[in-house]
Chain length 296, copies 2
């Protein structure tokens, strides 16, 4: 199966490398050409293309992994975009996180041109991308899902068909809003504990052993207490995802009150200058708002 891979950032470069490693015939493109050349040098079979349009010539699958909706639109549907060269029936799989609405719109435009589309955002940080153990949520038609499955399984450990177009995005942004909110709850809890003079090691140990446990406690309690924001997942990207979730809730006529509060915390932390830090830097805003510190 011949695959075009568009977008070789922190996640995309590792996902493309997994495909190359698993023997897919790969043509890659990246806005900054140097990163594409690097991948081409590491995997002799990998071809480097000068544009999305060039990359998508004579392939079965076009995978994109960029930052947001406008970038996906530009890379797939803009001038020099992949849709200009892809042959009828080519399957486009977008792994970026762009929200349900944008995914549905882009899918519709591709389908008007006789192309197929799946939205397939991923969760998991760069080590999981490198290992091919991401979680991938896929929206679109089942036939298309099955066609893409071998490539998706080279990149992910849990690959789930979550519904029609846009529903990969929907599940992804709900998951991330829950993760961000659980992290904010954890931050508030640790600040209360600290202010009351509690032994934070004991608090974390007890919560981790029982009903207070969460993936975010396991991953983020340590960095939060150490104020270690070495980036795994940028705060501004998490803020974007939470906003996409609130937008999806709004479109459905639903409310997600706790996530709306989390959005305010993340937005304030971003304004404090932590947008490029890991989202655990939301503790800075919580400390500021509460007038106390975990550093105590």
């Amino acid at each position: 199966m011949r695959v075009a891979f568009l977008g070789l950032g922190i996640m995309g470069s590792r996902m493309a490398a997994r495909l190359a490693w698993e023997g897919f015939e790969l043509t890659v493109w990246n806005r900054t050409a140097a990163r594409a050349e690097e991948l081409g040098a590491s995997y002799p079979g990998v071809e480097v293309a000068a544009s999305p349009q060039a990359a998508a010539t004579d392939v079965d699958l076009v995978i994109s992994m960029v930052v947001d909706g406008p970038q996906v639109e530009s890379v797939l549907l803009g001038p020099g975009g992949a849709a200009e060269s892809a042959s009828q029936g080519t399957l486009f799989v977008d792994c970026s996180t762009i929200g349900p609405k944008a995914a549905v719109a882009i899918g519709a435009r591709l389908e008007e041109r006789g192309l197929r589309f799946l939205d397939a955002p991923v969760t998991g940080s760069s080590p999981k991308a490198a290992d091919g153990t991401l979680t991938i949520m896929v929206g679109g038609e089942r036939d298309d899902f099955e066609r893409a499955l071998p490539a998706l399984e080279a990149m992910g450990r849990l690959v789930v068909h979550t519904g029609p177009t846009g529903h990969g995005q929907l599940v992804k942004v709900i998951n991330n809003a829950v993760a961000a909110t659980n992290t904010t709850v954890l931050g508030q809890a640790l600040l209360v504990a600290s202010r009351a003079g509690a032994d934070l090691d004991a608090v974390v140990k007890v919560m981790g052993a029982g009903s207070g446990n969460s993936a975010m406690l396991e991953l983020k309690a340590g960095p939060m207490r150490a104020h270690d924001y070495s980036t795994l997942f940028k705060l501004d990207h998490m803020l974007k995802d939470v906003r996409l979730c609130l937008e999806a809730a709004d479109d459905a006529g639903a409310q997600f009150g706790f996530a709306a509060l989390t959005e305010r915390v993340l937005a304030a932390a971003s304004e404090l200058g932590y947008g490029d830090a890991d989202f655990v830097a939301l503790i800075e805003q919580l400390e500021r708002a509460s007038g106390s510190s975990l550093r105590a």
Copy 2:
């Protein structure tokens, strides 16, 4: 080691049985005598006392497991209470959840009478009490903690000395407030997903595999979706614990905004008549407030 065990409810009866099973010499008392007689019948060495005062005669350790602060006060310090017969230096270990303030007050009154005190609330439901695999958080002096440790280890798998008197309570109520809040976040997320037409099986599967996971997702997503409120932990008890956490935060001059919102949800669910149901029944209030249902 001779132990008096006061309070044989759902948790206490199982904890006392563990002590008997591990060979502690046990005298038990319960307000409803029949439950004490039952335990006496199952474990031939167990003596049944007619009052806390009678139970605490000639013992090394007095363990209490009742519902709230006033009950602890009555059983330990009231007329016919354990303090009336306990010899100087007897160690009192209260496993009830009563909040830091009540624990400190009761500890001080016992110490005035030459008695020792540990607050040692537990987490884990009745199956863990039966297995002796509870988590036990202990506040008080280290010497006393070490003296009580053999008995605590018969009842718990993770037994942590969390600080001075009241700090067992502090850690417990913070943990429970986080658990209740994570459950409320989960409920809101599932309602948004449902309203947006998402496949809830996929949502739960994806969250469980990654950053959205939590102990409450694992334990409560199923019962929440099924509206199954068979009690593991009564909603009114969870409401009490969240209020104790907010009170502890307030006493420390801290705020726990998310837990304060969770308190409102639990209180409203209790007013709807779900106080004796498992606290996952908070979904009833979320459904009511959102005008949508997971039953869809």
